[in-house]
């Protein structure tokens, strides 16, 4: 299935893109997505980030579906 991923801040800069659609196996969960993205982008190994699903940071692992809005967020630095 396809997942749309959006990237922010230093993550977007490190991988030179702000969004993309990636192909993942059916029933891909959050842990699997972390693994896939780290394999796809070596830059992510040394960067700290969290994944938001539908504008929330899930406290547990969860199965993803194509209509999820998935975002890679670097550490926050507002204020």
């Amino acid at each position: 299935m396809e997942l749309k991923i959006i990237y922010f801040g230093m993550i977007a800069e490190a991988i030179s893109r702000t969004e993309e659609i990636i192909l993942v196996p059916e029933y891909c969960d959050l842990n699997k997505l972390y693994e896939l993205l780290k394999n796809r982008y070596k830059q992510l190994h040394k960067l700290s980030f969290t994944i938001a699903v539908d504008k929330e940071i899930p406290s547990d692992n969860k199965i993803l579906i194509p209509k999820n809005e998935i975002a890679l967020l670097p550490p926050f630095s507002g204020g």
Partner: protein, 146 residues
């Protein structure tokens, strides 16, 4: 869906905007105490280079949702008359204001406590990203201290 309050301001938050906001509350006479937090861009020195500005970006939709949740949680915990939050997007030069949080209540203690709670939550939970820019146009990404 209910209309969200405007939070993001393009560029710095001007002192005149803050003064105007204070003035607007003079008709609300149940208020006995205001407390204000202003975040100002600091000229940090990083590896011998001085920061001249911060360029802010945000995951705007999530940030607005998160701020709405924080507003509701704050109103539920503290007896406030009103609450306003403004944050800059784009470039804010050192010495300029990037965050304006304004709470009002009948008495001071509630205002003091609510303001601290709010500012800490905003820094920790709202997806805003600051890029510290140096005079030579290079940059580093800022990370908030917990």
């Amino acid at each position: 869906m209910k209309k969200r309050k405007t939070v993001f301001v393009e560029g710095p938050i001007l002192p005149s905007f803050i003064a105007n906001s204070i003035e607007k509350h003079q008709t609300k006479t149940t208020i006995g105490a205001h407390d204000i937090f202003l975040g100002q861009v600091r000229a940090d020195e990083i590896e011998g280079k001085k920061v001249t500005a911060i360029a802010y970006s945000a995951y705007t939709e999530m940030a607005e949702e998160k701020l709405e949740q924080i507003r509701e949680a704050t109103f539920a915990s503290y007896d406030l008359t009103c609450m306003h939050i403004y944050h800059s997007l784009g470039t804010v030069k050192t010495g300029e204001i990037c965050l304006f949080v304004f709470v009002s209540s009948a008495h001071r203690k509630v205002a003091f406590d609510a303001l601290e709670y709010l500012v800490e939550k905003i820094k920790k939970e709202v997806p805003i990203f600051g890029k510290e820019i140096f005079a030579d146009e290079t940059h580093v990404w800022k990370v908030n201290k917990v």
